[in-house]
């Protein structure tokens, strides 16, 4: 019985999801700065408690204290909290979004709180103070 050979392998046999992950980082983060910003091995990484300002391509910058850092590939995001006229305001910033140009750290706390996600400080005496540029 004649059996024909299969077609040549795509991507040199590399698994598709691994390829897509790499291609997305290459497209959304060519310099690797954004990925480095949330890597756990980096001592200068973004952490809950830091006060940062996020600069956008098409809108005004956003300032706030980081409540949590969500690490999930190109869907990674930081949650910022600030007070506007005494009212708590939260903004979710997907850091690999092409509209996010850069993220500057304004100041870091002397000692970091325990826990990686500071949801418990909302509306308590530990809550963030109003931050302005």
């Amino acid at each position: 019985m004649v059996v024909y050979e299969p077609l040549p392998k795509l991507r040199d046999g590399k698994p598709l999801m691994a390829y897509i992950r790499q291609a997305q980082y290459k497209k959304l983060d060519p310099t690797g700065e954004k990925l480095k910003m949330i890597e756990r091995s980096n001592p200068e990484r973004l952490r809950a408690g830091d006060v940062v300002s996020v600069f956008y391509k098409n809108q005004k910058p956003v300032i706030g204290a980081i409540l949590m850092v969500k690490r999930s590939g190109v869907a990674s995001a930081i949650l910022l909290r600030n007070k506007v006229a005494g009212l708590g305001v939260e903004v979710n910033v997907p850091i690999f979004n092409p509209n996010v140009m850069r993220i500057d750290i304004l100041r870091r706390p002397d000692t970091y709180r325990s826990r990686n996600r500071h949801y418990y400080i909302r509306n308590s005496r530990l809550d963030v103070k109003e931050v302005k540029l």
Binding site: M1, V2, V3, Y4, E5, P6, L7, L10, R11, L16, M17, Y19, I20, R21, A23, Q24, L28, N58, G73, V74, A75, P94, F96, N97, P98, N99
Partner: protein, 276 residues
Amino acid sequence: MSSLVFKRLSSSAILTGLSKRQLVSPMAIPLIESEAPLPFKSPEARRQRKRLLDRPGLIGVKRGMTQFYARDGTRVPATVLEIDQLEVIYNKTLEKEGYYAVQLGYGYKLKNQTKSMLGHFRNAKVSPKECLYEFQVKSEQGLLPLGTELKADHFKPGQKVDIISKSKGKGFAGVMKRWNFSGLPASHGTSLAHRSAGSTGMNTTPARVLPGKKMAGHLGDELNTIFNLEVLDVNAEKGYILVKGCVSGSIGSYVRIRDALKEYGSHILQDKKTGK
């Protein structure tokens, strides 16, 4: 009007079996030749009533989900479908099988192939495949030459597709999971029946459970079609399609991708009427 009457009179004169002396009404229509209508339940009549596409779709494998940034920066969830080793194996025709369809094969698998299947693959000059599916097309123009390789650029970004796949099996499920029933109260005397269905019908009349009553039973593991999903990205060289939203089934399951039937499909009868 007079010419019409004259025609009818002359046409009646050449009718066989009628003597020339016999009187025929001038308005009588002697003979109309028409096609015998197809029986409503015949396969051909069914095919003509069915909404069909002009070209076949593709077979893919669900590889997982990711996110996709559109040009304006909006983030959308996307499913990754792999298209690899996809070739045409057989064409079904109206003369032989009663309908037009393209049979496609996905992947490469040599183990446990029967001799008859190996012969089937050899006839198309393709390698033995893991998975075969056929796509019905409207006419002969939709058929493809045997051995044609289909790639992901069959579809274009921005168009709509339907995705047919088998949902995840949930086993024997109760009514609360299967039909979203509320169950019975948590207290007030309920005993060992908190997730029960309650009553299944009336008493002496009709003295039976009516057909179609929602009850516990097997959930999932059945074909499910998701209509009108948008194609976000296509890469023929690397062999993948990104589709907006989610697709039924577990990772690694085979899916059928076709042009959106509700947008691009039409009936053969409908085409005849509109004169396409």
